[in-house]
């Protein structure tokens, strides 16, 4: 891949080289021409060559560059010869290798070959559990979906969690126990560790570092271990977890509490930089509750109102009725100002920040006051503890405590301020006080800020023992390393955001021989039974009264331990004092976990690397995300390189210009520049360790200058553009609740222009099911859950950065982000785009081999075995949703790589030269049809759930039978907000959209964006 990239970068080609954007002229053009329109990218406004190439040609680079130079004669000779030989070869099928059937010796009772089993378990990320149903085909895990019974999931799933099956089979996972590079056994590893522990007798000089632990059983083991070795110390470090909510609760309530929000009860939500639908352990639940209060189908429906101030556009913020881009210091100052206004004792007296318009603040205060007890203030994970304390105090002052927010004891086994914890450990190591260090799961050699010099400190430790899934940066420095089991490979338990416990169960034995920390700690405690199954059962047997086997069965079946949620506390607010708000700074660096790779733990997962990040649609790179005004002030533009100096150090990042970013804030994603992630993740992007600080995610920037050279960023933003601006096509339809109520029957914003229906093509006759889909733009946050869920369900390959640069990404569903308004503070709209399954599909008549045809249930089906790759269909598709396999992206042989084990056996793996696209999950329709047929009934509403629909945290996607008037999809289609995309083309798509409705405060101009 690298060779190809270097070769490609030699070319003087707009797609390879990119073009420098002139921000001033973009700003001018936008103000002059496009004030009213919707736009997707800055390239679109600038009309760069690159954009033109993507816009005018469906496939900008039709052919792969020829590797060898063939002269004309040789080419013709080869052509003739291959024609002749092809004729001969066609007479006989090449003898296929005889396949074998390998049945069981003793067939497990519950397994029916060909029918998957589902196990209720949980995937643990950042210590917290999100419930999943894991699908297993004869012992082979292929997919995870959300568990509807789990309070943190309710059936939804985050993209990183969907992608975990790929990480499970990752051949770069660690596979053997090593001592300084030499192979050892697990027994030797345990023996060496026990020896080290016993040598210290009371545990002095012994330190343990883990990620956040919510597991009751691991917590119990660690407490016992610390009792046995009283001078040993346990530290926790997890860059995904924010210390601020806990630290804020300590100063506001004096207790280790965490807030649990009830967004279903909140009429008005103020989010202080909180991306609550997308980050943090309760994200999926909050997204669903929030969306349920926001969904509008008719003028009678009510909706909540979201006020959002944030530094960088977030999926949550893009839904806001009033969004204001603010620097972190301004957000803190606004919190202080509001607290003062609502009479919070001890609130720091700050005035209203300059960037917040007075009318905006007044309307916000009115709105909060009017909805006291039914409002909610949420502080973001990257805000300081002071802002969290202020948010808690505001909720108390508004009477929201106990109504929309309640407090529970922290689900963590030992809640700590982890930044301090890591600093303590590092200091002890530097001082030579540590002779034995155990690191379980964490990767501090990569995730710790460089200023801490954790790698140097590790060298001072006599013996270090690492247990991790990969042989990562930390493993390379440790004396001993052992592979850790994946959560789908072993027994365990973990708590969710509200304290609910899930017993996690394995789907198969560890694929690469990994071990569980439960097993390690049990061995260190000298227990007789160290098998994780026994450990978990013994631990829970002691906790459960009554019939244990009944408890065990019920709990594993449902995926949650009954009534295990933390009990609600009613703490009293202490008077606030000594709250320090961050000082104003001209330019700050805001380090955010990557939307896909998190803190880099998913860096070797190709699905997540290639997932176009929300808004920027960047793949395979991180960047310095700048507001257009900041970029202009610094004299840089997209893809320039920017050298950023902070108090901590220096880093050079490529520039991404992001409309809606707060001026004076550089946002950059964590998780890149991995040195030991594996073949996929190594060397992708830039490591931010040199500029990170333990003090918080925001640091002051002392210098930012343009560095030499440029760096090409692979963004999918200009790809597959529907040309919404050339002629006014009304792609995005958006209005306010007031507008809807003014015209409840036929809102103008839903139907800005009347179109004539065409009668050239006859209607298709139907007498069976008619599948259809509705996507609700009012609640779509653009979080990408659907994209990864689809990728996992439909065996969609990744293509690599070079191929993304020329527009060949293969995702069947993409989320188009549209902007409306000016360059600095546009409104955002997300439009998930997959095959629309047109009734009068333009792709069908142009296929010369009838490889894409209409079926009797309305699906536009793609027949891979007929396709000869003319690509006429894609050329004729106005929605640009068809994807072509230019190269052999997918692994055809099941023996080629372990990764092919993650494939869904119900979906064909496509080969080179074949067109593909969304099938409405036809394999799921077929499975339901066969099941219903065998039971002699019709398919029920809700029986066919597409992969994207099942993943969606906000239930924005509804699928079902349009022939059934009572089906949920039929009801959604009857909404007055329903519109067909590009309806003027009379393609009559089966996927339709519900127009975006917002609910701005009456006192503020709805079009001004405040």
């Amino acid at each position: 891949m690298n060779d190809a990239h270097e070769r490609a970068t030699d070319r003087s080609d707009p797609l390879v080289q990119g073009e420098r954007l002139d921000l001033a002229s973009i700003r001018a053009r936008l103000e002059r021409e496009r004030g009213e329109g919707f736009w997707r990218s800055l390239d679109e406004i600038a009309e760069t060559h690159e954009f033109q190439e993507f816009m005018r040609k469906e496939f900008p680079r039709q052919a792969a560059p020829l590797e060898s130079s063939l002269d004309r004669r040789a080419f013709l000779k080869l052509l003739g010869a291959s024609m002749a030989l092809a004729g001969l070869a066609a007479c006989a099928r090449p003898p296929a290798p005889r396949e074998q059937i390998v049945p069981y010796v003793r067939q497990p009772e519950e397994i029916t070959p060909g029918k998957p089993l589902f196990f209720a378990t949980a995937v643990v990320e950042g210590g917290y559990a999100e419930g999943v149903l894991a699908e297993s085909h004869q012992g082979r895990p292929t997919r995870v979906e959300g568990n509807p019974d789990h309070p943190a999931s309710l059936g939804a799933i985050a993209p990183t969690v969907s992608a975990t099956v790929l990480s499970l089979y990752d051949p770069d996972r660690s596979q053997s126990v090593l001592e300084r590079g030499s192979a050892r056994t697990w027994e030797q590893y345990v023996a060496a560790l026990r020896e080290a522990l016993e040598a210290s007798s009371d545990g002095s000089g012994v330190r343990l570092l883990t990620e956040t632990i919510t597991s009751p059983t691991v917590g119990q083991q660690l407490r016992r271990l610390l009792e046995a070795y009283p001078n040993a110390r346990w530290h926790q470090w997890d860059p995904l977890r924010s210390d601020a909510p806990l630290a804020g609760a300590r100063s506001a309530y004096g207790e280790d509490l965490v807030p649990v929000y009830d967004l279903g009860a909140a009429d008005v939500v103020l989010s202080l930089d909180a991306d609550f639908t997308n980050r943090g352990p309760g994200r999926l639940r909050y997204a669903r509750d929030f969306a349920r209060r926001r969904r509008v189908r008719s003028a009678e429906d009510d909706m909540n109102r979201l006020w959002q101030v944030e530094s960088t556009p977030s999926p949550t913020g893009s839904l806001a009725d009033h969004r204001l881009p603010l620097a972190p210091a301004d957000i803190a100052a606004l919190a202080g100002y509001l607290a003062t206004e609502f009479g919070v004792a001890g609130a720091p007296s700050t005035g209203l920040p300059e960037r917040v318009p007075e009318a905006w603040a007044e309307a916000l205060i009115d709105d909060l006051r009017e909805h006291a007890g039914r409002s909610l203030v949420i502080a973001g994970l990257d805000q300081t503890p002071a802002v969290h304390a202020l948010a808690y105090a505001l909720n108390e002052a508004l009477g929201n405590a106990g109504e929309t927010v309640r407090f529970v004891a922290s689900p963590e086994a030992a809640p700590t301020v982890q930044a301090d914890d890591l600093a303590d450990l590092s200091a002890a190591m530097q001082a030579g006080d540590v002779h034995t260090l155990m690191i379980i799961g964490a990767n501090p050699a990569y995730t710790a800020p460089a200023a801490l010099r954790f790698d140097e400190a590790m060298a001072l430790v006599e013996r270090s023992f690492h247990l991790g899934q990969g042989f990562d940066e930390t493993a390379a420095l440790a004396t001993w390393h052992a592979p850790q089991a994946h959560v789908l490979e072993t027994w365990g338990d973990a708590r969710a955001f509200d304290g609910t416990v899930t017993l996690t169960q394995p789907l198969f034995s560890p694929f690469y021989g990994g071990r569980s920390e439960l097993e390690l700690f049990a061995a260190l405690l000298g227990e007789a039974r160290t098998n994780p199954y026994d450990v978990i059962r013994d631990a829970w047997r002691a906790r459960v009264e009554g019939d244990f086997d009944a408890f065990w069965q019920r709990t594993l079946y449902r995926g949650v331990v009954d009534d295990s949620a933390s009990s609600e506390r009613s703490p009293t607010l202490q008077p606030l004092s000594g709250l320090e708000l961050p000082p104003d700074a001209e330019l700050v660096l805001h380090v955010v976990p990557d939307p896909s790779l998190a803190d880099g733990r998913h860096a070797n997962n190709g699905w997540l690397q290639e997932l176009p990040r929300p808004f920027t649609k960047l793949t395979w790179d991180n960047a310095a995300i700048l507001a257009p005004a900041t970029a202009q002030a610094l004299g840089v533009s997209k893809e320039d390189r920017l050298a950023i100096t902070t108090t901590e150090g220096e880093v050079t990042l490529p520039v991404w210009v992001q409309p809606g970013q707060a001026p004076g804030v550089i946002s950059a994603w964590l998780g890149y520049g991995r040195r030991a992630a594996g073949r996929v993740g190594n060397g992708v992007g830039v490591d931010l360790a040199p500029v990170r600080s333990l003090a918080g995610p925001v640091t002051r920037v002392s210098g930012a200058t343009r560095a030499r050279g440029r760096h090409r960023l692979a963004t999918t933003q200009p790809h597959h553009n529907l040309d919404g601006t050339g002629e006014r096509r009304h792609i995005v339809r958006a209005g306010t609740l007031a507008e809807l109520r003014a015209e409840p029957d036929y809102p103008t914003f839903v139907h800005p222009v009347a179109h004539h229906e065409s009668d050239i093509f006859p209607d298709w006759p139907y007498d069976s099911y008619q599948w259809g889909m509705v996507i609700d733009m009012t609640v779509c946050t653009g979080c990408n859950a659907c994209v990864t869920a689809c990728q996992s369900e439909n065996n969609i390959p990744i293509v690599g950065k070079d191929q993304v640069l020329v527009g060949r990404e293969m995702h069947w569903i993409r989320v188009d982000a549209y902007h409306h308004g000016g360059l600095d503070d546009p409104a955002f709209y997300h439009m998930p785009m997959a095959c629309q399954h047109c009734e009068k599909a333009p792709c069908e008549p142009v296929c010369p081999v009838a490889a894409t045809v209409h079926d009797s249930e309305g699906l536009n089906v793609m027949v891979y075995n007929r396709c000869v790759g003319t690509r006429y269909c894609a050329n004729n598709c106005p929605y640009k949703v068809r994807r072509f396999n230019y190269l052999q992206y997918a692994e055809l042989s099941t023996n080629a790589s372990e990764l092919s084990l993650a494939n869904n056996p119900e979906v064909t793996v496509r080969s080179r030269g074949v067109m593909e696209k969304c099938t409405y999950c036809t394999q799921r329709i077929n499975a339901a049809r066969i099941q219903a047929g065998n039971e002699g009934r019709r398919i029920r509403d809700g029986e066919v759930v597409t992969a994207c629909q099942s993943a969606c945290p906000t239930e924005a996607i509804v699928f079902g039978d349009l022939a059934d008037e009572r089906s949920s999809v039929s009801q959604a289609k009857r909404s007055v907000l329903d519109f067909a995309l590009l309806e003027e083309l009379n393609t009559v798509p089966r996927t339709t959209y519900l127009a975006r409705v917002s609910n701005p405060h009456p006192a503020l101009d709805p079009n001004g964006g405040a």
């Binding site: 005889r98 029918k115 079926d855 064909t908």
Partner: protein, 217 residues
């Protein structure tokens, strides 16, 4: 312009055209025959690690198909039996027979018997046994009189054209559900009448049967 070719060249051209035409016709006849028989291994016994005789077990001993092929009514595949299924009898019957050595080895070493696949669909075809059983397609309709075979081989070409013969007109082949596993079943003389009744009784949507998406995903 001088004449380049002697007059008898015309005859050559004439014969070449006729011969070419005949060749094309012969090809059109021969290729489908070839494709449907030899190239698809129709009638060619497939060697197996154990010389399992369907005729002995099925016809002579009267064991139902579903005793071994347990999942045929509920799943896509018909399930080749686990060694344990064989051992339900063979732990008592013909113990020590050299013919069953592969079975003993499997049972004792906990290693599967590796059978050779006889009916191999392309990977883009998703055939489902349970749907066919439910809708009255008999075992013998596709697999022939397996109960008369001393080995195992394909009796039908299992090409797409062959599938479509039934998918276009299922009434030609359907039998009552009660007769699906009856290897001695012979279609009645009024098959088309019976078949049409069955299509209606089983609510078979004949429009769906000819859709690509039914088998290809």
């Amino acid at each position: 312009m001088p004449q380049h070719f002697p007059p008898n060249t015309n005859a050559f051209v004439r014969w070449a055209i006729l011969g070419g035409g005949a060749f094309v016709v012969a090809l059109l006849v021969a290729l489908p025959i070839f494709a449907r028989t030899m190239n698809n291994a129709v009638g060619v016994p497939v060697a197996q690690p154990i010389d399992f005789a369907h005729n002995l077990h099925s016809a002579q001993l009267g064991i139902d198909c579903r005793y071994c092929h347990t999942t045929v009514e509920v799943a896509a595949s018909a399930n080749v039996p686990a060694s344990e299924t064989c051992m339900t009898c063979h732990s008592q019957v013909r113990v020590g027979s050299p013919q069953l050595e592969a079975l003993w080895t499997s049972w004792e070493n906990d290693q599967a018997v590796r059978w050779n696949r006889v009916h191999d669909m392309p990977d883009y075809v998703y055939f489902n046994h349970s749907a066919h059983i439910t809708n009255g397609v008999g075992c013998s309709t596709c697999h022939g009189l397996v109960d008369q075979m001393d080995g195992i081989w394909k009796t039908e070409p299992m090409t797409m054209g062959w599938c479509m013969e039934c998918h276009r007109a299922p009434e030609r082949f359907l039998r009552p559900r009660s007769e699906v596993f009856n290897m001695a079943y012979r279609p009645p003389s009024d098959q088309l009448v019976l078949g049409s009744e069955l299509v209606a009784a089983y609510h078979i949507d004949t429009d769906v049967l000819i859709q690509c998406s039914v088998c290809h995903r």
